[in-house]
Point group: C2
Chain length 370, copies 2
């Protein structure tokens, strides 16, 4: 089912990703209806229709489904029951299978292994005893993670020499966990790619990411990797979306690891949505990741991913957004603010993009063609 202009896209979640999706939809003449439980979500400011309701409110979900032509989501923790309820009524893009898989680190990693991709070594951890066995198997340091609801470093703890395993296990609460072996990486990168309704594929140039306190601080494009690595990342993203019959934009976060004088990619996690490390595409690519996602879920042709130069995107976290006036006065920066009322430490308030003409200050060999 493909949409025509004037159709309505239902978006689950009212954060900044939903906000930027809604604006991309509007640019293409599509209407949006955003559903989320919190009343002050940034996406509500730019949505044609708004429903404030719990994801478990079936009456609200039924009305929401009635009012839209296709449903998408801006975050991977949409309750599966909600996704399934909606997908019985309207096309859900990306599909519920992708969502289910990426909500839980264990099936996600199993899936990646099954399609032949390398991940960090991992073991499920059901109790403190299993943790001891897993640490014995994977060695230290290692990272204990809750299988669900982790983001920006939440729900994680490092297992170091001398760590008290029982205390660590209890600190993360009474829920299923996974232990991941430590990966000694050169850099962190992400591939933002899209698959259309007819299987068409397009990827943006590989993003190189720097985190501070587990939160993305900075993305640079192109990534300082070998051309073969860039091509491998692209191929790997295509494998993931093809295997899932995926429709929409997907992000693959990876580690670049030194390997016999060359580089190897180890997949860290995948996200069934537009991604913070792709925000540079609004100013820096011919099609933004948001427009690309809208095109894909509308059943429309994907847009060109051509990059406009050498890019640096920086998140504005918490009080960093107070620098808005200085940023506005800098002609080399594009400012994006998400309209969040409350400023909390660690909260993503906006981002900036700097674009240098291609070639100037280029950090690596040219990226392959889109």
């Amino acid at each position: 089912m493909t949409l025509s202009p004037g159709a309505t896209i239902g978006i689950l979640g009212a954060g900044q990703l939903g906000r930027m999706l809604a604006m991309a939809a509007a640019r293409l003449g599509l209407k949006t209806h955003v559903l989320a439980p919190e009343s002050d979500g940034p996406a509500f400011d730019v949505a044609g229709s708004r429903t404030i309701a719990a994801y478990s409110d079936e009456a609200a979900l039924a009305r929401f489904a009635e009012s839209v032509d296709v449903v998408t989501y801006e975050f991977e923790n949409v309750p599966l029951a909600c996704a399934e309820f909606l997908s019985e009524r309207r096309p859900l893009r990306p599909n519920a299978r992708a969502l289910a898989l990426m909500q839980d680190r264990l099936p996600e990693k199993n899936f990646l292994r099954d399609i032949g991709l390398e991940t960090a070594p991992y073991m499920p951890v059901e109790d403190a005893g299993a943790l001891a066995r897993a640490v014995a198997a994977l060695g230290r340091p290692a990272i204990l993670k809750t299988r669900r609801f982790g983001y920006d470093g939440k729900g994680q703890a490092q297992v170091r020499d001398g760590s008290n395993l029982g205390a660590l296990y209890r600190a993360l609460g009474d829920e299923p966990k996974i232990l991941e072996g430590f990966v000694r990486f050169e850099r962190e990168v992400s591939a933002i790619a899209a698959r259309g309704l007819t299987g068409e594929f397009a990827a943006f140039d590989l993003c190189e990411n720097e985190h501070e306190r587990h939160i993305l601080a900075r993305t640079q494009v192109p990534a300082a990797v070998a051309r073969a690595t860039e091509l491998e990342a692209r191929a790997l993203a295509r494998q993931v979306v093809d295997a899932l019959d995926y429709v929409g934009v997907l992000a693959v976060e990876m580690f670049v690891v030194k390997s016999q004088g060359g580089e190897r990619l180890v997949v860290n996690e995948i996200a069934p949505r537009v991604h913070n490390s792709g925000h540079w595409t609004i100013d820096g690519a011919e099609t933004s990741q948001f427009e690309q996602h809208i095109r894909a879920i509308a059943g429309w042709p994907l847009g060109p991913t051509t990059r406009r130069g050498t890019i640096e995107m920086r998140n504005l976290i918490g009080q960093e957004a107070n620098r808005w006036r200085e940023i506005l006065a800098d002609p080399t920066l594009h400012l994006h603010l998400y309209g969040k009322i409350e400023n909390r430490p660690g909260r993503k308030m906006g981002h900036t993009t700097r674009i240098l003409p291609a070639g100037e200050n280029e950090r690596a060999s040219p990226a392959p063609d889109a």
Copy 2:
């Protein structure tokens, strides 16, 4: 008075210009409240708050003023009483003087003459007798126009050899008119410029415009004019905004006329708002005219107007918008649709932008620096 992120911009008018202004405001973390009488205005889809009310509804205007920090407008036919009512309560940018002037072709032309700019020869026409005298003075062909509410060729009639002046006069209705002498021009151009709260000035590169049946069909940038003409257009726009203590984006439509082997600019009309011929700036300039207007009325620094290449913008009028699928499949085009439900002949439904790398297919000498 300057705004901070989170402040609310009140926009009078809910057309596509208001829509694109609201999206630019949202990108910068500003909220918008759109007021217009029609319920299906395209701007309502992307505005945080909406009031459907007549511009004469003072109770609604008072509530609107209470809810916003600054007021702007997307069209020059805002009733003056409405503008003045609001400007007593909140900063109105651009100011009511600019609005009053540009609502009426006679004071508008008088103003342009007063600051030393060339316009077509013109005479006010109060009755059919005055029309005969004006035609005798200005010659044929000439154009009879209503002084107010004209756009896209509405409220105009050509006075040709043999035209029945009485019938022509009556055809345009019982309202004040103006006769304009015919200008034999080489091309039509427009300058889109902005003035900030502190008098700061920035202009986009000159736009060359082609009309079909009095409606803008196509804009190309750079315009095929001499560098001196480009500089003159810029200086002339600055004269206009400085004379009016103007804050915001303004458009100056001009004719390029052959003059002693060179070129001369004759001002056709000015518009106190963002302008159709500036739509290319969304994709083709580092700052869009919409963001520039928001920056100006927020009291923020103006953004860089650097052009990204050689540009062609085409309006999608009426049924032309039905080509959306073909346009989406063309990687050289950016598609913008305004979300209008009803498609009527002559109605602006959207536009496309094509950007070629600078230099490629460049039509004129390089434009001057911004």
